[in-house]
Amino acid sequence: MTRRKGMFRQVLERPLGVVVLSVLGLFYLIALFADFLSPYETSDQDLQKTYHPPTAVFWDDGGLQVQRYELADPEVMGYAKIEGEGAPIQFFARGFEYRLLGLIPMDRHLFQVEAPDRIFLLGSDETGRDNFSRLLFGSRISLSIGLVGISIIMVFGFMIGGFAGYFGGFFDSVTMRFIELVMAIPGLYLLLVLRSTFPEHLSPAQTFFLIVLILSFLAWGGTARIIRGMTLSLRNRQFVLAAEVLGQSSWKIIWKHILPNVFSYLIVAASLSIPGFILGEAALSFLGLGIQEPSASWGLMLSQAQDMKVFMLNFWWLLIPAAAIFVTVIAFNVLGDVLRDIVDPKQKFLNR
């Protein structure tokens, strides 16, 4: 454990590390408080305000007001400001009910506007849902998909790779052949087939978990191989041989002696595979196989904006999920890079 602390301290010593850690920290904080920060639920629609541009906010009557708009050109969903008209923004006002951090029942939100007026900080989508709220709620899925995924990869990758490397022989070669087999099937197609074998009647949460599981199934092989290689070289080191002579069980040796030695590599490998999960979820959404309506994820939102009219009619706010994905993926890649420089400066194992 002391190793890990050391690792993070080292990250904080590098300017790039500080930048990406704070960006990611901010994102995760927002995701955590998404329901408090969003004025609306992900499914809240207003069919009279579809494709609404971001609403302007101005100061009047001693408070912040949200600009009122009218539909000026229904042909192209063009909205025009109604000059001088606004609705007061209420802070810490009541809105939909939720549980803060999943625990405390609440109905207060950071800001609200009294219906029928609406506040769309980042515009609205084709059924008049608040893009801002969906982006915040979507961040929960898009940001957690990688974390859940790498936990699965780390557990499986370590267990299988560790055992294969430690015991060697028949078990080793069977596992390695199986990994090669899985890696030889084009990942995307494997995903598709697995996706269609989902059992019936799944809640959105279960679907989410299954998608993560599938994405991890594609990725654990690589991690397992790295761990196996490292275990193989650790296996004949003095301290492992000593432990064996002392009659410690194999399980204990792997747990006590091998794991601490590969742990930091595991962390780096994991952080480098997070972007794969985020982009993988987006690709699945594009093919209609990802997170489903009315839930939101960045990938789903972006795949819905995959449309010429968004460009041609200038509904630019619908492209914000792309920016969110972009920043997050870069941040994770840079973080992984920084970690790798610390843990494996010569890139012996983590050549990816």
Binding site: S43, D44, Q45, L47, Q48, K49, T50, P74, E75, V76, M77, E126, T127, G128, R195, S196, E200, H201, L202, G288, L289, Q292, E293, P294, Q304, Q306, D307, M308, K309, M312, L313, N314
Partner: protein, 595 residues
């Protein structure tokens, strides 16, 4: 188009690249046509004569799967086959009636069961072989052959009896049906196959593996037909180039053989974004356009000289239904929980749901106001069969609440709806995930139901899973689905009749479960057994009326169809229903425009 400014340097740099790559302004030259005398039985078209030449470029969503009419299951393949092969009759969508095609004329016997077709004389296949009654006999032999399962076997039988097809002489064929079969003339226009080309495959049992996309890409001339075009080249997933059939049997009043165009090029596309842009920048002649894209494509209409026309509501329908199947699975578990089945089989419940759906809001908000609410099983696009006097359910949450109250439901203080026994009203709805509009309908429906205190959960399934649930396991509560509309109501037989497979709310009933379903069964049989169209319409209007009152299928909306077409094309005669360019053989271009 809105202009995005690129920096000058950037532009010049790329312009250089462009010159390097594309030698723009290229023109396709026709190699000149084969000259053959017109057949004796030539069909002279009524529309004014035009000028031959030019190229028509269109797009089609998807690649043809086959050029074999016995195998074709999808619209893209059928469309292609229609350009290559003719039938005995064809449907003229402007006149709204069946008109002569390979058969010049026909007589109907007194009892309405026997049709004598007189074939056009002197017609030749595109390879020059003569077309005779033997080809017609061969086609029907192939259709009815046990070795070759195909969908026409069912279309061409009535009460389980196949038609009797006999050759009178080389140019006369008589077809007799066991009973009167209302859509006979419409269906009989199936593609006639060339005996001289396909007899060998027919004999050795490989007929279904003949005329595949490989034939088209390797030996396009092997696919011979009597249609306006033959294949010049076919590239899977890219495009197909048609050229005029030099033996086509139609000509204009000046005796010029049709079609006018030198080439008809059809591009196959997977994703519409690219082709919409291509049309809007003047790179193609025709494009089907979805309602939400109309606005920006119209902006370029003047620049590239095209028109985007509103072709009215589409023929496709979309609806929500509740599973009313009272059966149970092999473990004895009912398909639908008993208290829910009670709601679903209550007419007032279904009507209330219908009043609770904001169809106009969906149209105005999601598809830019370019669509129509649907009240009947036949879309208003099908003017011939649509009944405008069915019961309508405009958005009225108040009325919905009243109906629910009358049916014993109660809205409690927590805002949720409960039935008389105290069960919370909630159900899940399934749909397949193939299109955006459908997903939007589903989410709007969910929100509308929330306003009534009903909680709806949405499950998007892949196609196979969806079909499996609604047709085999019956393990679902409500569904959302759409059908593409056919022309004749007979095509909806398996939806309306209680024993039908697509009677989705309660399929394959041995006996009709309700009186109104029994009445519909009766009406559907009656409309089938008469050739009098007005009489049929009366029966079918009643079917639509019953459906709208009972609401087994709660119809939603239908988007309008838009078609973009360049203005240089003449002899365009917009039909009530179907594509603008239905008469590809007759259209011609005023002048050649340089691209």
């Amino acid at each position: 188009m809105r202009d995005i400014r690129f920096s000058k340097v950037f532009r010049i740099g790329f312009a250089g690249l462009a010159v390097f790559f594309c030698a723009c302004g290229s023109e396709i030259e026709s190699e000149g046509r084969e000259e053959h005398p017109l057949p004796e039985g030539v069909d002279v078209v009524e529309r004014p004569p035009g000028v031959a030449g030019d190229i028509f470029t269109g797009t089609s969503a998807g690649t043809p799967a086959t050029f074999n009419p016995l195998v074709a299951e999808d619209a893209t393949s059928s469309d292609a086959i229609q350009r290559l092969l003719s039938g005995l009759t064809r449907f003229d969508p402007v006149k709204d009636e069946v008109v002569p095609s390979l058969a010049e004329s026909w007589e109907i016997s007194e009892d309405g069961r026997s049709f004598t077709f007189h074939l056009r004389r002197g017609v030749r296949w595109s390879d020059g072989e003569p077309f005779t009654a033997d080809d017609v006999i061969f086609t029907f032999d192939a259709i009815y052959d046990e070795r070759y399962p195909n969908r026409m076997q069912m279309e061409f039988s009535v009460g389980g009896e196949p038609f009797e097809v006999e050759k009178i002489d080389d140019y006369t064929v008589r077809i007799t049906t066991a009973e009167i079969y209302a859509p006979f003339l419409l269906y009989i226009g199936t593609a006639i196959l060339p005996k001289h080309k396909l007899y060998e495959a027919y004999e050795n049992g490989t007929l279904l593996r003949a005329w595949t996309i490989s034939t088209a890409s390797r030996t396009p001339r092997e696919i011979v037909g009597t249609g306006p075009f033959r294949i010049r080249s076919f590239r899977p997933a890219q495009r197909m180039i048609y050229e005029p059939n030099p033996h086509y049997w139609r000509a204009d009043q000046e005796g010029r053989r049709l079609p006018y165009v030198d080439f008809f090029i059809e591009r196959f596309v997977q994703d519409q974004n690219a082709t919409m842009v291509a049309f809007a920048s003047g790179q193609s002649d025709h494009q089907a356009i979805t309602p939400d894209q109309v606005a920006w494509i119209r902006r370029n209409a003047e620049l590239h000289d095209y028109t985007v026309s509103d072709r009215g509501p589409s023929t496709s329908t979309s609806f929500i239904w509740f599973n009313q199947n009272p059966g149970s699975n092999e473990n004895g578990t009912p398909f639908v929980e008993p208290h829910k089945l009670k709601w679903f089989t209550d007419q007032r419940f279904r009507q209330a749901i219908s009043y609770g759906i904001d169809r106009q809001g969906l149209i105005d908000g999601v598809i830019f106001g370019r669509g129509e609410p649907l009240w009947s099983s036949i879309s208003p696009a099908n003017r011939q069969w649509h009944n405008p006097d069915v019961k309508q359910y405009p958005y009225d949450p108040e009325r919905a609440r009243e109906l629910l109250e009358a049916a014993g439901f109660e809205r409690r203080a927590d805002g949720n709806l409960y039935d008389a026994e105290g069960n919370r009203v909630t159900f899940s709805i399934i749909t397949n995930e193939d299109n955006r509009l459908r997903a939007n309908m589903a989410t709007v429906f969910m929100e509308n139901m929330k306003d009534l205190g009903i909680e709806v959960r949405l499950r998007l399934l892949d196609f196979s899973n969806f079909v499996n649930r609604i047709m085999e396991s019956f393990n679902y509560e409500a569904g959302l689905l759409g059908f593409t509309g056919g022309r004749d109501p007979h095509g909806g037989m398996s939806i309306y009749s209680s024993g039908g497979r697509l009677h989705v709310w309660h399929p394959n009933q041995p006996e009709p479960a309700t009186d109104w379903e029994a009445r519909i069964d009766e009406l559907m049989q009656m409309q089938l057994r008469t050739l009098d169209e007005d009489e049929r319409r009366e029966y079918f209007n009643e079917v639509q009326r019953i459906m709208s009152e009972q609401m087994p299928l709660i119809y939603l909306i239908t988007p309008n169809i838009y078609e973009g077409l360049r203005n240089r094309w003449n002899n365009i005669d917009p039909p009530n229903m179907g594509s603008l360019i239905w008469n590809l053989d007759e259209i011609w271009a005023e002048k050649r425009l340089l691209r």
